[in-house]
């Protein structure tokens, strides 16, 4: 079992100063790995100070674990260096690919849910875990197109990967909701298939409607349907470290603290019989 870190927030430069001066009551921060893979200066200065006062976890976007291009060892080496510097409680990235042929699309490109992709992922995840000397967390991503070639459901794929590669999951409940609309499946059924022992962290975020589908923008508050799914997930998995992500239209910290209180309430009510 992974330790429940409580209720956390994505660490964003807009909030650095407020965090240090006001020491808000937040249980942990999730820092975007790539933002700190720089030689020095402000980003690392603030990360050092904030990590001295709060537990930190890292969340990357460029591991490209599902890509058929070779693993980027320069990237992994720098991540390893950052882990040694900051000593995060864990490191996560996304269950996706971000490019081939040396190109980085800087997007979380979806994988088809096939045996071939699973085999490929299992090898790569163990390479990464061996190299970093720790289990990693992989997050389910939002996607907009449905692969005809998929041989299983997204949740089957996720569970199979976690079991076979011996990695952990970062379950983004908003992404489950987004995909349940985009690919027309039952979000509750999805969550029921995920065993609690594999879920180390949860993400909550907002999104934007676009006609018949939803785009995962992280630009708005969490919607009621996602809160409802979260409550159900809490009951099913017990208390899991939960984080609110906001990447665009970032409001002042106080506003996000109110949303974090809502997470706390959900967690408490899930404990009630």
């Amino acid at each position: 079992m992974v330790r429940d870190l409580g209720v956390g927030l994505g660490l964003r430069p807009d909030h650095y100063e407020t965090i240090l001066s006001e020491r808000p009551s937040i249980d942990f921060f999730e820092a975007l790995t790539e933002n700190y893979l720089v030689p020095g200066g402000k980003p690392l200065h603030y990360l050092d100070r904030i990590s001295a006062q709060y537990p930190i976890v890292f969340h990357g976007v460029s591991l490209s674990i599902g890509s058929t291009a070779p693993l980027n060892m320069d990237y992994l080496n720098q991540v390893k260096g950052l882990i040694q510097r900051t000593k995060p409680l864990w490191v996560s990235d996304h269950l996706c690919w971000t490019g081939v042929d040396g190109t980085n699309l800087h997007d979380l490109m979806p994988l088809p849910f096939t045996e071939e992709a699973l085999d490929h992922l299992v090898t790569r995840v163990s390479q990464v875990q061996d190299y970093l000397g720790q289990q990693i967390l992989l997050e389910n991503v939002s996607s907009y197109l449905t692969y005809q070639s998929s041989e299983m459901s997204e949740q089957e794929f996720l569970v199979e990967l976690a079991n076979r590669a011996d990695c952990l999951l970062l379950l983004d409940i908003n992404n489950v909701y987004v995909n349940s609309i985009n690919h027309a499946f039952d979000a509750n059924e999805y969550l029921r298939a995920i065993p609690s022992a594999k879920v180390a962290q949860i993400h909550l975020a907002g999104h934007e409607r676009q006609g018949s589908f939803i785009i995962d923008t992280h630009s708005t508050p969490v919607i009621d349907e996602v809160w409802a799914l979260y409550e159900r997930a809490c009951r099913q998995w017990g208390l899991v470290a939960t984080l609110i992500e906001r990447d665009a239209d970032i409001p002042p910290l106080e506003e996000l603290l109110i949303e974090l209180d809502k997470v706390r309430l959900c967690r408490q009510s899930a404990l009630l019989p």
């Binding site: 790539e34 997007d107 018949s212 589908f213």
Partner: protein, 259 residues
């Protein structure tokens, strides 16, 4: 090529070029809003890179105004991102703008982009510590001529042939850009970081030559010779000492090397 590799190759081509070989093998094209869903990927790719360029090049963005997006789109079409971090996207923007002869004041914009790229480099350059004048106190008098200096990692130099840096400053001060002017004569700039803040100033030709020599490892007496050759012999050591004092005050030096 494996099925997965073919899929990724196709999908990436689709995002980058708008057409991917055999893409119909992977998607059911009769899904509702299929085209809009595809565009989420290809438009998203472009929007993210243009946004990243705006973060690194806020001055270029303000000066180009409503032409920023279309100009950056052209850059994006010609330059894929190859780094794992989007922070390093846009390295060649200055060169690109220099060649965009149809854009008004393109050479000033090229200078401005070069300046903003170097500001970004100084911003997150490796941390090192400055030494003060006291580092010279330990040098015995007879060794003075032989000492040399190690400069800090964030230090950058730039030559402009326009008032791009002044325009950047005017944008910062009151949000208004001055009129662009180009010069035949180059103007040199020094960019560096003190604690967490980035600084810049213009640098005169003699100081620049002295600084470049010092950076290459020239000793104090070699710096005096260089200055003497351009001014006059008797004032050279004084001039060298005064430049050095300035560099110390600005925290440009991280070590003194005594042979």
């Amino acid at each position: 090529m494996s099925k997965l590799a073919l899929l990724q190759e196709s999908f990436q081509q689709l995002v980058l070029r708008g057409h991917g070989p055999a893409i119909e093998l992977f998607f059911g094209a009769n899904a509702p809003d299929f085209d809009a869903r595809l565009l989420t990927y290809s438009n998203g790719y472009r929007a993210r890179l243009v946004e990243a360029l705006g973060v690194t090049y806020p001055g270029v963005q303000t000066v180009l105004g409503s032409n920023f997006e279309s100009t950056m789109m052209k850059y994006v079409e010609q330059n894929a991102s190859t780094h794992f971090s989007i922070r390093y996207y846009g390295r060649d923007l200055s060169q690109f703008l220099a060649n965009e002869r149809d854009i008004p004041f393109h050479s000033m914009l090229a200078d401005l982009a070069a300046f903003e790229w170097l500001l970004a480099e100084a911003f997150d350059a490796a941390d090192d510590n400055p030494v003060g004048m006291e580092s010279l106190a330990v040098v015995p008098a007879q060794d003075w001529g032989e000492v040399s200096f190690e400069f800090r990692g964030a230090l950058r130099l730039l030559t402009t042939h326009s008032n791009a840096v002044q325009i950047w400053q005017s944008l910062k001060d009151d949000g208004e850009a001055m009129d662009p002017v180009c010069f035949d004569q180059g103007m040199d700039w020094l960019i560096w970081r003190k604690d967490l803040a980035t600084y810049f100033r213009s640098i005169e030709a003699l100081e620049l030559r002295t600084l470049l020599a010092a950076r290459r490892g020239a000793s104090f007496s070699q710096l005096c010779e260089l200055i003497a050759a351009e001014t006059n012999e008797s004032e050279a050591p004084l001039k060298a000492a005064s430049l050095l004092r300035g560099w110390y005050t600005e925290e440009l030096i991280q070590a003194v090397k005594v042979p």
